[in-house]
């Protein structure tokens, strides 16, 4: 196997909240997360709102730095770099954001915004930049004359195309797509996802795809990591994960995916209670408060990540029981 393009190693990120009378409190946004992303693949992070998906994406992009742990890009630890040292690398790590309106400056023409990475990271002259911007606009299904316009003159789907054009303008190696289609309606979602797939093939891109939408994730991903309360509970190939989810949380999550066939009846696993507060995460296994299979062990001990081979990793004390396999190794 080749070297991972991005490797996150035991990253931890907490945010301070509420410096009130009771002293400081911390939100454990990302709690001991490790994973590798291979060149050319689409690696997805799924989980419900507030589980730390976006924070993880921002850690890789160096928009925030981890409290502990490391983030490697092509073997280089970027988590300790200063903003200035990081800047040249930013050409290779681009981002697409959830909110297409908010991620574009309302006062700057579309063509200047798409050309901004070119301005920052290449020494093209203005004419060459404009030519490249027109190329990019065509590439994402817009026309060159759209470049003269301002963001408020576009629809959400068009703006997301603009965001994609900007992200690919400097031929990045990896694109972090933070819920890129969640703000769009379903027909536009498919268009944008197809565009992303097409560009991936053409430009040999690697995606980190962050989403809460399991059907979208199923369409685009190669490998999937499921997050719960700031930590990854299961990582697997897409086929393995959808065919044989091991972690009880993954099972519950997948059972909630609607099947567009009224004759199919399936058992839905309903989780009891709410997601615990990340300010006071539960002891032991983070999922134990809602798990149907919870035991004393789960309440007391944090389960280790167990590797079942083929890249299938599960963070559960009883993963062997659920999968019917024995773990190859414990990480």
């Amino acid at each position: 196997m080749s070297q991972p393009i991005v490797s996150v190693n035991h990253a931890v990120k907490t945010f301070v909240v509420n410096k009130g009378l009771g002293g400081k409190k911390y939100v454990h946004a990302v709690n001991d997360v490790s994973f590798d992303i291979m060149p050319g693949e689409t690696f997805s992070l799924v989980g419900e709102s507030g589980c730390g998906k976006s924070t993880t994406g921002r850690l890789i992009n160096h928009l925030i730095v981890p409290d502990s742990g490391e983030v490697y890009y092509n073997g280089q630890d970027i988590s300790k770099l200063s903003e200035k040292q990081m800047r040249p690398l930013r050409a290779e790590i681009q981002m697409i954001f959830q909110d297409p309106y908010g991620s574009l400056n309302p006062r700057i023409k579309i063509q200047d915004q798409i050309g901004e990475p070119l301005l920052l990271h290449t020494d093209m002259d203005p004419a060459a930049r404009l030519k490249r911007v027109h190329e990019l606009l065509r590439l994402v299904g817009l026309g060159p004359s759209h470049g003269e316009r301002y963001p408020h003159e576009f629809s959400g789907g068009q703006l997301q195309r603009v965001g994609i054009a900007r992200a690919i303008s400097v031929n990045p190696k990896i694109i972090i797509a933070d819920e890129p289609v969640s703000a769009l309606d379903v027909s536009i979602q498919a268009q944008v996802l197809n565009l992303m797939k097409k560009l991936q093939e053409q430009m040999n891109l690697t995606y980190l795809f962050i989403s809460h939408d399991l059907s979208v994730v199923e369409m685009i991903s190669d490998r999937i990591a499921v997050m719960y309360l700031g930590s990854i509970v299961e990582i697997a190939d897409k086929r393995d994960l959808y065919a044989m989810p091991v972690h009880p949380y993954t099972q519950a999550l997948l059972s909630a995916v609607p099947i567009p066939d009224p004759t199919v009846h399936k058992e839905r696993i309903l989780l009891e209670g709410d997601i615990p507060s990340p300010v006071n995460p539960p002891s032991g296994c983070l999922f134990h408060t809602r798990c149907a299979h919870c035991t004393e062990l789960c309440k007391q001990q944090v389960p280790p990540m167990k590797d079942f081979g083929g890249g299938h990793q599960v963070k559960c004390h009883y993963a062997e029981k659920f999968s019917g396999k024995s773990a190859e190794k414990t990480l």
Partner: protein
Amino acid sequence: MSEETAKVLDQEPLYADAEALPTAQNRVKAFIKKFSKRKAALVSLVFLVALIVVAVISPYIVPYDPAAPDYSHMLEGPTAQHILGTDEFGRDVLSRVMVGARLSLFCALSAVVVGTFLGTVLGLLAGYYGGILESLIMRGSDVLFAFPDILLAIAIVAIIGPGTVNVIIAVAVFTVPSFARIMRSATIQVKGSLYVEVARSLGCPDRRILWTHIFPGTIQSMIVNFTMRIGTAILAAASLSFLGYGADVTVPEWGSMLSTARNYMTTAPHLVYVPGVLIFLTVLAFNLLGDGLRDTLDPKLK
């Protein structure tokens, strides 16, 4: 990737090219069209432009020499000869307010320009960088805020002496803190927006983020505050002249005219009304213009 690009270029674009391109010219037209719907602001603009034109060309169009006394026509009310009457030395009031507009507007405008520039830079830096720099700038402006505006201006003029330039400095100094505060909050607001985070993720250096991405987002608050502060500055400059801290007393100025007219308020009230109403109208016009610009400049209100 040029080969792949060429391949894709053959495909039809998903969205047809924009037909009617909004060119820069169209944009100006759209702005004028929208602005002209705001009648109050439009009238204010016309009034202010007329006032500035009159102020600039006043030495050539005044009916009388504004400094020439005429002891046979002292303290006369409006007559056919002197439309706005004469003052205590028989000088033509119309000529004097026309020439006086120069100094009044010049003082106020230049003071606010200087104050806006300093206040904007300080506010942007404080809002963007935060930390010690922000504390220093904002505590500094709090200190200036602690004094009532006019008292501060008087104190400054008392220290550096009267005179046109010193009045400008004094008014500029008390314009700075309010601008710094407004620009700081505008900066913090824009700084928190997603597109600034995006700019950072694209690899923009701080200076570019600040001037290309944040500053244009704050211009709106700046312009509105600018026009409003001109009104205040005219009042302040006039007040300073009124109190005798202004420029050379022989040069007509609205504030000093008002100040001397006070002595004849009962016998020749027109001497008070003319500069008083002009100050009032000018301040009002600048405020209405500011309101109109604020409503027109917001790109989201289109």
